[in-house]
């Protein structure tokens, strides 16, 4: 079911996407980004920007940060997904199905409970630290258990996430934070303004670091024995990969909220087109992720204007549909 399509992917990868395709994707994504800049409750257009200082201020305070936040968050989550799939050698693992996001959520909650007045940075650090610990625990578990079925791995991760989520819910009930926790869990970009989105730059930098480390991560994904045989320090490579994922997930969860499925569908879509070589596919993953999230956000802003549907809802619905299509397609082909 999972192994068989690899051949097709290999074949597709060998043929390779046409050189101009990546450029086309980049142009398309840029177009969506520009569209995102000019959609919204407050009318903004180009002549206005030049003439009206108020429009320019709105543009810089709200629209530009929002668009950048979308792009960075999308890159962070899709790249996290591809790295986790590489390290676990499992197509169905991503921060949501490994419990990483749930750990980040617990971290956020703990920060709010323990230091209610602490700066934003506290939440960020605690969320990232717990995301890191949780992901390491998940990796440790899946290395211990030998499993027959690849689908078992995400299912175990989801159960793990459910335990952590239940702990968070319990704490939230006790301290009457349930509804505000619901607000974090449901991600949206409507509240993103200047001075709030900047931590996401970290995610962008991590994505570049992953690009640099791509070959090592690919090797580590082949397993301890093969990696060691090839002279790679397996533990360090693994730790680097997991830290990168935790950092991306932590930052995105705190600033934006949970973005389900992005890390799952984007790498799978890209892998169908061009195989699994990380160095080659990473730009595709980043651009596709950004394009999808920009599109979901624009749709969410237009459909019920002047209100907004949070991007996580649209992503949840569209993402699950796309994911099922991918999974069932693999089932037919396999």
């Amino acid at each position: 079911m999972i192994a068989a399509p690899a051949q097709q992917r290999q074949a597709a990868g060998a043929r390779g996407p046409r050189p101009w395709a990546l450029a086309l994707l980049a142009v398309g994504t840029a177009g969506l980004a520009v569209a995102s800049l000019f959609v919204g409750g407050f009318d903004i257009d180009l002549p206005g920007l030049a003439a009206d200082p108020e429009q320019l201020r709105q543009f810089l305070v709200s629209r530009v940060p929002r668009t950048l936040a979308i792009v960075f968050a999308a890159v962070a989550m899709s790249v996290s997904g591809v790295v986790m799939q590489l390290l676990t050698q499992n197509r169905f693992v991503e921060p949501t199905t490994a419990g990483t996001t749930q750990w980040a959520g617990l971290g956020m909650l703990l920060a709010v409970l323990l230091w209610p007045n602490a700066p934003f940075l506290t939440r960020l650090v605690l969320a990232t630290v717990l995301a890191l610990l949780g992901t390491l625990a998940f990796m440790a578990i899946i290395q211990r258990i030998r499993t027959r079925d690849k689908l078992m791995v995400p299912l175990v991760g989801i159960m793990l996430g459910a335990v952590v989520g239940a702990v968070s819910t319990f704490l939230a009930i006790e301290f009457d934070l349930l509804q505000s926790m619901g607000a974090w869990r449901s991600a949206g970009f409507s509240g993103i303004v200047r001075g709030y989105y900047e931590p996401l730059w970290v995610a962008a930098i991590v994505a570049i670091a992953i690009y640099v480390l791509a070959d090592r991560l690919t090797l580590a994904g082949l397993g301890r024995d093969i990696a060691t045989n090839a002279g790679l320090d397996y533990r360090t490579a693994m730790l680097l990969g997991v830290s990168a994922v935790a950092l991306c997930t932590g930052v995105t969860s705190v600033v934006v909220g949970f973005l389900p499925f992005l890390g799952l569908i984007v790498p799978n879509l890209v892998s169908m087109l061009m195989g699994d070589d990380l160095k080659r596919s990473l730009p595709w993953v980043a651009l596709t992720g950004a394009a999808i999230l920009l599109l979901c956000d624009i749709v969410g802003r237009i459909v019920v204007a002047p209100m907004e549907i949070p991007v996580s809802v649209i992503l949840g619905v569209i993402g699950s549909a796309v994911f099922l299509a991918i999974a069932l397609r693999g089932r037919r082909a396999g």
């Binding site: 068989a4 027959r148 037919r332 082909a333 396999g334």
Partner: protein, 252 residues
């Protein structure tokens, strides 16, 4: 007697077997040999109704394996596939007792216990019968599964590489028991096997598959020739005669 006609199996448009037709007469041991990916296990699984063919069909004792009630088939046909998964903690004896299920639907009688005892004894498992399967070595577990299939006490027994994980002693032990079941009880045994020397020593007939087709079929003497085996595996092989038996030897 086993019959199969025009059997094919395709995965995603890629054909791994067939079309093959043939019959395996009642009684005796038939060895299915051939290189990896020749379709041996696929053919065995289709006859044992563990796998649906893409086209064609198979019958055992005149029962079409696709349409006959699986419960009735289970009293005439036993198949041991290559992979056995097990999560429950089950003792060897309990596993072998499952072989009686088609006859009893779970309610064991005195006679059933006799069957179980005999199967355990045949495979030298009596001393291990109260151990849990997950405490055993791969070879011991393999013997337990073979014992279960023997306890099922069917006319037709299909075994997919039953000698996996077994040392020489226990491989020979199993083949001797199969030989006995064929000779004394008139069982029809079909076995997928990679060890040509053991196949030549114990089988009556050989069916050689290659690239999803039956390349050769006949007695051991007819099929186990240097020419046929060398061509089958694309590897130079000589066949020696030792005490009137065929012994394939690889040429370095």
């Amino acid at each position: 007697m086993i019959k199969f006609h025009d059997v094919t199996k395709e995965y995603g448009g890629h054909r791994v077997l067939g079309p093959v037709s043939g019959r395996i007469e009642a009684g005796g041991i038939t060895a299915l040999i051939g290189p990896n990916g020749a379709g041996k296990s696929t053919l065995l699984s289709i006859v044992g109704r563990l796998m649906q063919p893409t086209s064609g069909g198979a019958s055992v004792d005149g029962l079409d394996v696709r349409t006959a009630p699986t419960r009735e088939l289970a009293t005439r046909l036993a198949i041991l596939s290559q992979e056995h998964r097990l999560d429950a903690r089950i003792t060897v004896r309990d596993l072998v007792a499952f072989g009686r299920f088609p006859h009893t639907q779970g309610r064991l009688t005195f006679g059933d216990h006799a069957h179980i005892d005999r199967a355990l004894d045949f495979l030298e498992l009596t001393g291990l019968q109260h151990r849990y399967l997950d405490e055993l070595s791969g070879g011991q577990r393999q013997r337990a599964f073979v014992a279960m299939v023997l306890a099922q006490d069917t006319e037709v027994v299909l075994l997919d590489e039953p000698l996996n994980n077994l040392d020489l002693k226990h491989a020979v032990l199993i083949m001797r028991q199969l030989r006995r079941a064929a000779d004394l009880l008139g069982r029809t045994i079909v076995i997928v096997i990679h060890d040509l020397a053991i196949a030549a020593a114990y089988a009556d007939r050989v069916i050689a598959l290659k690239q999803g087709q039956i390349a050769h079929s006949g007695t051991v003497e007819e099929v186990m020739t240097a020419e046929i085996v060398s061509e089958l595996y694309e590897t130079p092989v000589r066949i020696l005669e030792v005490d009137g038996r065929r012994v394939p030897v690889v040429m370095p």
